[in-house]
């Protein structure tokens, strides 16, 4: 397993995190960035959808289009963050390759930048993936990589394949020229073992179905699938057999136990006695959910991918919770 972690997590320098809406992909991406920033390593957490989810998660002000340090991981590693803005990325790109100063502004006035970043097919996605790949490849003066890992909080599962594959499409459209070359360069990173695409899911029917569909699409497009991250896993307390007993012949014992615990009288109409029904009802819902989760786990197991499981945090998501999840990811990665 240790070697598996090394192979699948440490070698993939670009880690793309996708998932159905509501599964917590931003949280998982942030926790993964923290987990990878171990032993003095440096990771870059990239946001591409302009939602400022990272800033909200870390409790900082809105991120500018600029890489900045947002967290220090246990052991001295650093997490940097960047919210990629397509328009700025295009101007940067033009500046970098064509030294366009005032012409860039003229383009903006004309609405060309608007066109390029919102309407022209795929250009926006090309710029976003292109910027992330640039960060993956960037080296300092000494020739070392500036970031050990780049973690991308990517678009949701339904759009991830198209998003990552856009460069292929654009390379086909623009059959030569700098856009073509740029698109090819980006695809060479995205389709290599340097990249791993992880899908976040919950143990519920629709997210699991979408995960299975998403993996099939990614595989078909030749994109490297990493892991399935099962998020918000709740502990299981009681099995159905026990519940049946509790609801049936042992109902009175439960009421007495509640009374013993200081929760009121166990007699009919007593406080403890009145708690039994609602508590059993909740437990029955729980048992039903456990059964559904069992089915969904089986579906996920059929996908043949390594899996992470992250617990549901009772207190809700905050910075402490993020570090907790990061620790959990490291632990599971080391096994």
């Amino acid at each position: 397993m240790r070697t598996q972690w090394l192979r699948s997590m440490a070698v993939s320098r670009l880690q793309v995190v996708s998932g159905k809406g509501g599964t917590g992909k931003t949280t998982v991406a942030a926790a993964l960035a923290l987990a990878l920033a171990r032993e003095g390593r440096r990771t870059l957490l990239v946001e591409v959808e302009g939602r400022q989810g990272i800033a909200q998660l870390f409790g900082t002000e809105a991120l500018p289009y600029e890489e900045r340090k947002i967290a220090v991981a246990p052991g001295g590693g650093e997490v940097h963050a960047l919210a990629i803005d397509a328009e700025r990325a295009l101007l940067d790109y033009l500046q970098m390759f064509y030294k366009l100063g005032s012409a860039g502004r003229a383009l903006k006035k004309l609405g060309a930048i608007d066109f390029a970043t919102t309407i022209a097919p795929g250009l926006r996605d090309v710029l976003l993936t292109g910027k992330a790949c640039e960060a993956v490849r960037r080296k300092d003066k000494a020739g070392r990589f500036v970031y050990d890992h780049v973690v991308m909080d990517a678009p949701p599962t339904g759009r991830i394949t198209r998003f990552l594959n856009v460069n292929d499409e654009v390379a086909g459209l623009a059959r030569f020229g700098p856009i073509h070359n740029q698109a090819q360069a980006v695809m060479s990173v995205l389709k290599s073992p340097q990249t791993a695409v992880h899908l976040v899911t919950l143990l519920e029917e629709m997210p699991v179905q979408e995960t299975a569909d998403g993996i099939a699409e990614l595989r078909e497009a030749g994109l490297p699938v990493g892991r399935v991250v099962v998020n918000k896993v709740r502990p299981h307390h009681l099995d159905e057999e026990t519940l049946r007993a509790a609801a049936g012949e042992r109902r009175g014992e439960v009421a007495q136990a509640l009374a013993r615990a200081g929760l009121g009288g166990a007699r009919r109409g007593g406080l403890a006695e009145r708690l039994v029904d609602p508590l059993l009802e909740q437990a029955a819902e729980h048992a039903g959910r456990v059964e559904l989760e069992r089915e969904q786990r089986a579906v996920l197991a059929g996908l043949g991918l390594p899996t992470y499981e992250l617990p549901l945090l009772g207190a809700g998501m905050d910075l402490a919770g993020l570090y907790e999840l990061a620790t959990e990811l490291r632990k599971q990665g080391d096994e």
């Binding site: 795929g122 198209r162 456990v290 089986a298």
Partner: protein, 506 residues
């Protein structure tokens, strides 16, 4: 409204502008007293959204469901469609990207770009809400339904098909062929950024123009941000009016204009740059495409503007859909503000997957303390060495003396009821549950398990309440309906109907 909800009012009312967090905390603590049966929670200070009144009003012609991804938007749209149809309206539901299961739940294997009639709708205008909690439905105006005749149709937006149809309808055959064969067009219509939004607007306009239905329920695209849907016509308009498109079509003409001298430099540089950037062949594709579309662009613009105005009209109602989670409600708040800025008629907020408890008089803290108490009884009996870990004077006495001998069999393990087929062992934060599969499970252990489950439920409820109160304090006037969390997914019309009941009575 129960007494409990009134007491929350004092909590949030004062915190409207500042200190919303503190107010929310106060409200959450008072909430435990609402004690509403049936596992539903009360809607705090917000007015209640009367869903049936909205569905029954013949003046309601379009309902738009919007919100963040993963909050049950499409399911909500489908459930509203079912309920409206069963209350006698002729409804079409336009979904954008439904899960396969949802299409199947309406008895349709796969939805496509043509509305399909959904069978199994219980017509007759009678109130479908026969569930126990259907009694207090707001505006159960069965009279408005006019004695049945309700129908439900459903369809899924096919972006490419919709785009192709526009081209075919508005260009002569030869030109249409040229456009459809253009590589640039093929990529654009297959759904790159923005196209889905334009086409959703276009389709809505088409459905409304056909006038075959008296109610259209629209699900919105899973947008990167809520803005995209509303921005579609404007963005298209500004693009079509922009200089850029004219440059693409006839660079020389624009460059030669008087007063555009400052642009001249940029212009010549630009066409050169564009050609360099995109490669000459792509630029040529784009130019051909724009030229071919030229005559159609005006129509696009007109229709997009018309649809935008249609959305502002009184016959339209926006429903913002959210789950009681910070991200989803933040998006919802944002959308509420955005709708107001665009003068779009907001009907209210649908809050999905809200948890409740029939035993909410028992707080999480007390439940946990009681659970520990019961479990501790076992420890005390089993190994006196652990006795010192807890101060017996803190909290209620452990009643160790009442624990019978069988309590000692409750060997403590950290193993939860994990399924054997799971590839990875379930990792849990708790390490206290006993091995419940053992036959000799004591009543104390069962009860402790029940109490722990309850504590978890109460924590979820408190968290949801805090999140919701934050929204309510920002937007106290937005009517809210709550839909209690379902244990599983929706598989059939009955499931959608059940959600419809919850929507109407939440």
């Amino acid at each position: 409204m129960t007494a409990g909800t009134t007491s929350t009012k004092t909590g949030t009312g004062t915190g409207a502008a500042t200190g919303a967090g503190a107010a929310a905390g106060a409200a959450a603590s008072t909430r435990t007293g609402t004690g509403e049966p049936g596992g539903r929670t009360a809607v705090g200070t917000a007015p209640r959204l009367a869903v049936d009144a909205l569905l029954d009003d013949p003046g309601t012609r379009i309902i738009v469901c919007c919100g963040a991804g993963g909050v049950g938007k499409t399911t909500t749209a489908a459930a509203l469609g079912v309920r409206a149809a069963e209350r006698g309206r002729k409804v079409v539901v336009l979904t954008i990207d439904p899960a396969r299961r949802l299409a199947q739940s309406m008895g349709i294997d796969s939805l496509d770009n043509t509305p399909r009639r959904v069978t199994g709708i219980e017509g007759g205008g009678a109130d479908a809400g026969t569930d126990a909690d259907g009694a207090e439905a707001g505006g159960t105006g069965t009279g408005a339904t006019g004695g049945g005749g309700g129908e439900l149709h459903a369809m899924m937006l096919d972006m490419k098909r919709t785009f192709d149809e526009i081209v075919e309808a508005h260009a002569d055959a030869e030109r249409a062929r040229a456009i459809l064969a253009n590589p640039f067009y093929q990529s654009l219509s297959a759904g790159f950024a923005g196209t889905q939004e334009y086409m959703a607007m276009e389709k809505l306009g088409q459905l409304r123009a056909r006038d075959d239905w008296d109610l259209i329920v629209v699900d919105t695209p899973p947008s990167r941000s809520a803005l995209d849907f509303l921005d579609a016509p404007k963005r298209l308009g500004s693009f079509l009016d922009g200089t850029f498109i004219r440059v693409l079509m006839a660079p020389a003409k624009v460059g030669g204009r008087a007063g555009m001298k400052f642009l001249n430099v940029g212009m010549s540089m630009m066409t050169g740059t564009l050609s360099k950037l995109m490669g000459a062949s792509l630029l040529k594709d784009v130019q051909t495409f724009v030229a071919a579309m030229d005559t159609m662009f005006g129509g696009f613009r007109t229709r997009a503007d018309a649809t935008y105005r249609l959305l502002q009209a009184p016959g339209t109602a926006f429903l913002v859909v959210a789950a009681p989670e910070p991200d989803a409600l933040r998006e919802a708040a944002y959308f509420v503000e955005r709708l107001a800025a665009d003068r779009m008629p907001l009907a209210g907020l649908v809050l999905n997957r809200v948890h409740g408890s029939g035993a909410d008089q028992l707080s999480a803290e007390r439940a946990l303390a009681a659970a520990e108490n019961l479990e501790e009884g076992g420890i005390v009996d089993q190994g006196p060495g652990k006795h010192g870990l807890r101060d017996p004077d803190a909290g209620p006495p452990p009643h160790a003396d009442e624990v019978t001998a069988e309590g000692t069999t409750g060997a403590r393990t950290t193993a939860h009821e994990t399924t054997a087929d799971a590839t990875t062992a379930a990792r849990t934060t708790e390490t206290t549950a006993d091995d419940m599969t053992a036959d000799g499970i004591t009543a104390d252990e069962i009860t402790a398990g029940l109490l722990r489950l309850h504590a978890e439920r109460m924590q979820v409820i408190a968290r949801e309440q805090r999140t919701r109160d934050r929204f309510t304090s920002l937007h106290p006037d937005v009517p809210v309906t709550e839909v209690a969390a379902l244990p599983g997914d929706v598989h059939d019309l009955a499931g959608l109907r059940a959600i419809g009941v919850r929507l109407a009575t939440g």
